[in-house]
Amino acid sequence: MTAARPAAGQALPRVTATRDLAVAAALTAFLIALPLAGWQGNLRLIFTTLLWTTCSIAWNLVGGFAGQVSFGFAVFYGLGAYTAAVLITAGHVNPYLSLAGAALVAAAASLLIGLPTFRLRGPYFAIATIGVNEAVRVVMNNLEALGAASGYRVDELAGGRRVPFVMEHHYLTAVVIFGLALVVSILVARSRFGLALNAIRDDEDAAADTGINPFLHKLAVHALAAALVGAAGGAYARYAAFIDPSGVFNFNNSVSILLMPVIGGLATIWGPVIGGAVYGIVQEELVARFAQIHLGLYGALLILVILFEPGGVVGLARRIWKALVHRRATGAPVQAGGVKA
């Protein structure tokens, strides 16, 4: 899909980006090929999983690479969903264009939220995002213009007639958004910008001393992540054809978005993807069967991950790999672990 841009200066980190990008391209191509090859499986499941995974990757940009834990990503998901819904229904905008609009609005909102909250350090920022999430949900719940608590129906019209529902279109949209998120994540991880984010996570003052502007970096990565989540929210709105504040702005969504990268492996490229895939598939199965206890299971999982394997699935895999292949025990620079001890 997208080739790595020519390396400017930072030669070392870019080298490995090619391999990751190749894997990403292969994965995306495979996902695109699935329905085209006439596969009749559960596209809906993969669709929702891809949207979750996109959010997971996006959260990891902010929470993993930059170490800014946010409990408020549902805000971007919901705003993206509402933006796309309004653009499609009231504005009669091309649905794909309206997804771009959703991304833009979410990014703009992230700046609005980030301007005050990124002046805060670590825990204060996390607390503030819980507040922002609840405040936005409350406002949307009372906003009569957008249907308030009773929600908003998405009517997609073409030439005065309702556009029929084609699962493949939704699916391919999700694949493209997912692929985009993956490429963004890889490019961020393997760039100067990503290194700067890591520096901010590890020690904000020291990072500032080396000439990095932590505030601007945080704002930028927040906006990038919000745009991806907003697009995912927009795709969801178009697919679901009906959205309401307690659905899309639900605090549980913020929780889920945060859980996936933690379970998969924080501050890695493939951790959030694995976490998202596991979560998406398990979620669909669990919600159907044990609607009331699935969050408790995730809570228990979260506790186990933090206590026993802060590196998540990826960290566990690395540890097993190391145990199997002894000769790799020294030398190779392991990517920063993500969790600050």
Partner: protein, 297 residues
């Protein structure tokens, strides 16, 4: 609004501030000693409410007595949780991502235990006292609110005595100010942390139990109160015990008076605007402002 309305609202705010302070103290103690933001606070408040509810329903125990009983029970529960989970967290002089996530996970688990046992119906505790009122001069006050306020104030006075008059209290204050210096002078940090965590959870349980007499509750009960605790401790400064009381009073005043002008649906939004404003204007809380004043003079 006549002056009587204003007076009524002021008294209502004060009563509310009492319970808000109790609820937020638990978080402050834990944060002060361990630099952990206890996101599971809401879960323990919820358990506190159901603890009283069950005792009231099964044994017919008065909910206020139940709340008093909740304190020691949750103290032990808190120490157990600390022993089981919290003590494995890396020690740090600032909140870490693992601590945030661990307690967050614990909250999810507690919430789901709540759902598993009690389902998601709204419950409430109704006694002879619930609707009783007393007349104090021109004011009509709810008896439950007064009793809850009294319990809250007494618990806070006792806590204050504990913190200022005992060796444990001194250790808590020392660790709050400087954990490393505290260790240097021979404070048993592990033991102090365990006791403080127990104390913090005990206050969460007590607050939840008291709130159960005032409001209806479900397994998601603690969340709005957790968010209020955040507003309060941020307003008060995360480590200042006097600041917390002041923060609680400010939030209670804002909430009580804003109902007059803003639809009730927007209540939480107001608290959060307050949170963001407080974070921006007073990063050290109201206490830091007072301190600065004190230093200047």
């Amino acid at each position: 609004m006549g002056w009587l309305d204003v007076l009524n609202l002021l008294v209502a705010s004060l009563l509310l501030a009492g319970i808000y302070t109790t609820m937020s103290f638990g978080m402050t103690i834990i944060y002060g000693v361990m630099k952990i933001i206890n996101l599971a606070h809401a879960g323990f408040m919820m358990l506190g409410a159901y603890f009283v509810f069950e005792l009231f329903n099964r044994v017919g125990l008065n909910p206020i007595l139940g709340a008093l009983l909740a304190f020691p029970v949750f103290f032990v529960l808190g120490m157990a949780v600390h022993w089981l989970l919290v003590r494995w967290l890396p020690v740090s002089d600032q909140p870490t991502l693992p601590s945030l996530l661990l307690l967050f996970g614990l909250w999810l688990v507690l919430q789901n235990i709540g759902y598993a046992i009690w389902g998601n119906h709204d419950r409430s505790i109704y006694t002879d006292m619930t609707l009783a009122t007393v007349k104090v001069g021109p004011l009509t006050l709810s008896v439950v609110q007064l009793v809850v306020f009294a319990v809250a104030v007494v618990s806070l006075v006792l806590l204050q005595l504990l913190l200022t008059r005992t060796w444990f209290g001194r250790a808590v204050r020392a660790l709050t100010q400087n954990p490393f210096a505290g260790r240097l002078v021979g404070i048993d940090t592990a033991r102090t942390a365990r006791l403080s965590f127990g104390l913090g959870i005990a206050f969460a349980g007590l607050a939840g139990a008291l709130l159960a007499s005032l409001y209806s509750f479900d397994p998601d009960f603690g969340r709005p109160f957790l968010l209020r605790s955040f507003v309060i401790i941020v307003l008060g400064g995360l480590e200042s015990f006097a600041g917390v009381a002041l923060g609680a009073l400010i939030l209670a005043l804002v909430e009580t008076f804003s109902v007059q002008f803003v639809p009730a649906g927007y209540q939480m939004a107001i608290s959060f605007s307050l949170l963001v404003v407080a974070l921006l204007v007073l990063p050290g809380g109201v206490a830091s402002l007072l301190e600065r004043r004190g230093r200047a003079t």
